[in-house]
């Protein structure tokens, strides 16, 4: 399944359209036969980016594997809101073990399937940024290095949300969290080097790495399906806003995701064996302020005494991404 970038800014809507596409390019979600792997009834917040991303990703994976999928899930929001014991909203075989071991559990499942000759059944490991970039890092790197046949999906909402919005190594600079409060000389999270998991995944030279957001859901589906065509270690990093933790309106989840891409703060690309193979271009780079303003976690940068230096610093991050990944489209002639 390929990705056709349909831009809807002309029509003024944000609908994920299918009517303009050939049937085989239409969204999995628009299909009556979609599996609803993450079924309705789960307890996610209104506007949860992770619930949206997970539903799309797993249904796309099921579609690509003729419904032969097993998922291992890290501790976190997704795990908690999807399995309020004694109920579950998962319609696929699913296991939650611990916070930091999801990649290893998936390795074990894949090994069991291999031994039993079940080549048709595939394995997905999924978790939030905490379970991926921090506590899950060791197991993840081990899985990458062994090239185990696992697709690891990280739903990045940039903090430990389920425990009350604490900072993770994925939290962006200046963002307010419960452990990086908007107080003191440098309110919000520090300006570190960041921890770019997609680049780290690429440094392991695994067969497939991709980033995506929930603003371009068909792009997300296409990437998951592309990943399922490949055997070996694969990694997809999905930007998923959290209205509660970020302090934005529940109906702005997709808009915020579009803004993070259009500002250059979150490069959307694919890579294979350590080389970038495709980049989703930005038509017009938006200033980071447009992305930061709607989120209360950045509120301390605005108001009566705006922190222009900080905003400029964040802008520099975005500009560096644009340069590094060649995010801007070439000017039309």
């Amino acid at each position: 399944m390929s990705f056709q970038p349909i831009k809807f800014y002309q029509t003024g809507t944000f609908t994920v359209g299918n009517r303009l596409l050939a049937p085989d390019e239409r969204s999995v979600q628009a299909n009556m036969q979609r599996t609803n792997s993450l079924n309705s009834g789960h307890r996610a917040c209104q506007g949860c980016g992770e619930a949206l991303g997970a539903r799309y990703a797993i249904d796309a994976a099921m579609n690509a594997t003729a419904n032969q999928l097993i998922a291992a899930n890290a501790t976190g929001c997704l795990e908690v809101f999807s399995t309020p014991y004694p109920e579950t909203s998962w319609q696929i075989p699913w296991i939650h073990s611990l916070f930091g071991n999801t990649a290893a559990v998936a390795t074990g499942i894949a090994a069991a399937l291999k031994v039993k000759g079940r080549r048709d059944v595939r394995v997905i490991a999924q978790g939030g940024d905490g379970g991926t970039t921090d506590i899950g890092f060791g197991c993840l790197s081990g899985m990458f290095e062994r090239n185990d046949d696992v697709l690891f999906i990280c739903y990045d909402n940039e903090a430990y949300m389920n425990t009350g919005v604490q900072r993770s190594s994925a939290t962006p600079p200046a963002a307010r969290t419960a452990t990086t409060m908007a107080v003191g000389r440098e309110p919000g999270n520090v300006f570190g080097q960041g921890k770019n998991l997609p680049l780290i995944a690429m440094a392991h030279f695994i067969p497939y790495v991709a980033t995506a957001t929930v603003a371009e859901l068909r792009d997300l589906e296409a990437k998951v399906q592309r990943a399922m065509e490949i055997r070996g270690a694969r990694y997809i990093h999905i930007f998923v806003p959290c209205p509660l933790g970020w302090g934005h309106e529940a109906h702005d989840t997709i808009r915020i995701s579009r803004l993070v891409k259009e500002t250059g703060l979150f490069p959307v690309f694919e890579a294979e064996h350590g080389e970038v193979t495709s980049v989703s271009k930005i038509r017009r780079q938006l200033p980071v302020e447009e992305y930061l303003r709607p989120q209360k976690r950045f509120a301390h940068l605005f108001g009566d005494a705006p922190r222009l230096e900080t905003i400029a610093h964040i802008q520099a991050y975005a500009d560096r991404n644009v340069r590094r990944f060649a995010l801007l489209e070439e000017a039309a002639h």
Binding site: N67, Q68, L69, I70, A72, N73, E79, V80, T83, P84, Y85, P86, T88, W90, Q91, I92, P93, W94, I95, H96, S97, L98, G100, N101, A104, V105, A106, T107, G108, I109, A110, A111, A112, L113, K114, V115, K116, G117, V121, G138, C139, S141, G142, E145, R146
Partner: protein, 417 residues
């Protein structure tokens, strides 16, 4: 078939005969030879079909075993000491999820200070995690217990730890009777999981259970492990019928029936104890030994049955509960609730200090004369510890104990004030 081989190789051969499907391991002394042998067997194809995974940490090792077992594969791993601690979160997880993983723990001390030699602190630290814990007295028993472990674990849907003394057993060459595949197949049926991850019948495993149901879940875990008290003797009988020898069971008595003093212990030290008992018996002492094989579940009834006719019990253990005293002895005490006899705890062999017949002779005779303290540290150098304690009375400072001792011995290894 009789072979003169290293204990580790015997265990590896036994595990291989159990047809494991996923073996994952991280190296740590003194378990290394077990997994190296298994790795070689898988690589040459001698053990197939089997996936052997070199993981990047013990935490990962147990997690891979969890995933594999949940997906219906017979899973095995091995570790010791620090490695066991590193996987603690996953160990509890495996027990809580009811996954019949079998793991060898090559008993080794836990640091700090780092120590690679044998004692039981590692297994003991995990005695409450919900795993079944079996202690092997000899390499033959170690080999046999692994076969019994797979059977027991899969029948109860519980993970099983087979504990064998690191170096003392793992690295010792002795005569072993290796079973053949037909015997093991007759004893150990295919793994048929109760709940398995399979697209044919999707299940969600590992949900968060709240206050309204948690107590029931935990009670059932306890009740399930208690069922092992019945199963273990039954399996041991079946084992005897198929393999022709006694291995396993809950406890093992040695000359206890008319003994006035009974020594209780776990693991390989029982061999030395038995030799000492024999020597003392020749001199007319009424002394016997009780070896505990199943430490978890703890066979309260059996221990009570054997010990209550005696006048005194000496629990000799390679473990220490800092801040209170003995661990094994506390468990034994529970079995003797209400029974009047003298009980002595002897902490011995910590960090691999040899337990000698000479010391045991002295110790047991002191016990018989009821001259022992309630808590004794066998072969402790009082000179050294008293010097340190004296100095600390005068000047209280913090710092690592091992390095602090050196100041009194006169060798300053590091600038520890």
């Amino acid at each position: 078939m009789l072979k003169q081989i290293e204990g580790s190789l015997g265990v590896a051969e036994a595990v291989a005969l159990c047809r494991p499907e996923v073996i994952c391991a991280y190296p740590i002394s003194p378990q290394t030879h077990i997994v190296e042998n298994l790795g070689e067997m898988v690589k040459t194809g001698a053990l197939a079909p089997c996936e052997f995974i070199n993981v990047e940490s013990e935490f990962s090792a147990m997690s891979v075993a969890i995933g594999a077992s949940a997906a219906g594969a017979r899973a095995y791993t091995a570790t010791a000491s620090q490695g066991l601690l590193y996987m603690v979160e996953a160990i509890f997880n495996a027990a809580g999820l009811g996954l019949p993983i079998v793991m060898t723990v090559a008993n080794r001390a836990i640091g700090a200070p780092i120590n690679i030699w044998n004692d039981h602190s590692d297994s003991m630290s995990q005695r409450d995690c919900g795993w079944i814990q079996l202690f092997a007295e000899t390499n033959q028993e170690a080999l046999d217990l692994h076969i019994q472990a797979f059977r027991l674990g899969e029948e109860l849907s519980l993970p099983v730890m087979v504990c064998m003394d690191g170096f003392i057993l793992t690295h010792a060459y002795e005569r072993l009777d290796l079973p053949d595949q037909a015997q093991v197949d007759a004893y150990l049926p295919r793994y048929e999981p109760r709940q398995v991850l399979d697209p044919k019948e999707p299940v969600s495993i590992g949900a968060m259970v709240g206050p309204e149901a948690f107590t029931e879940v935990r009670y059932l875990a306890h009740a399930k492990q208690m069922q092992a008290l019945e199963l273990i003797p039954r399996h041991a009988q079946e084992f005897r019928a198929i393999f022709g020898r006694d291995s396993g069971g809950l406890v093992r008595e040695y000359r206890t029936s008319d003994a006035t003093t009974i020594v209780v212990a776990l693991g390989s030290v029982l061999g030395t104890i038995k030799d000492t008992v024999d020597e003392m018996r020749r001199e007319g002492h009424r002394i016997g030994a009780l070896g505990i094989v199943s430490f978890r579940p703890f066979p309260l009834a059996e221990v009570r049955r054997v010990l209550h006719p005696a006048q005194r019990v000496v629990v000799l253990e390679k473990s220490l509960a800092v801040g209170i005293g003995g661990i094994l002895s506390a468990n034994v005490r529970m079995a003797l609730s209400g029974v009047q006899l003298h009980g002595y705890t002897v902490i011995a062999g910590l960090g691999g200090r040899p337990i000698t017949r000479k010391s045991l002779h002295k110790l047991f005779r002191e016990a018989e004369r009821d001259e022992l303290q309630p808590l004794t540290f066998l072969d402790l150098d009082w000179n050294i510890v008293n010097r340190v304690l004296e100095r600390e009375k005068r000047e209280r400072r913090s710092g690592p104990i091992a390095e602090t001792i050196l100041r009194d011995v006169g060798v300053v290894a590091a600038r520890v004030a």
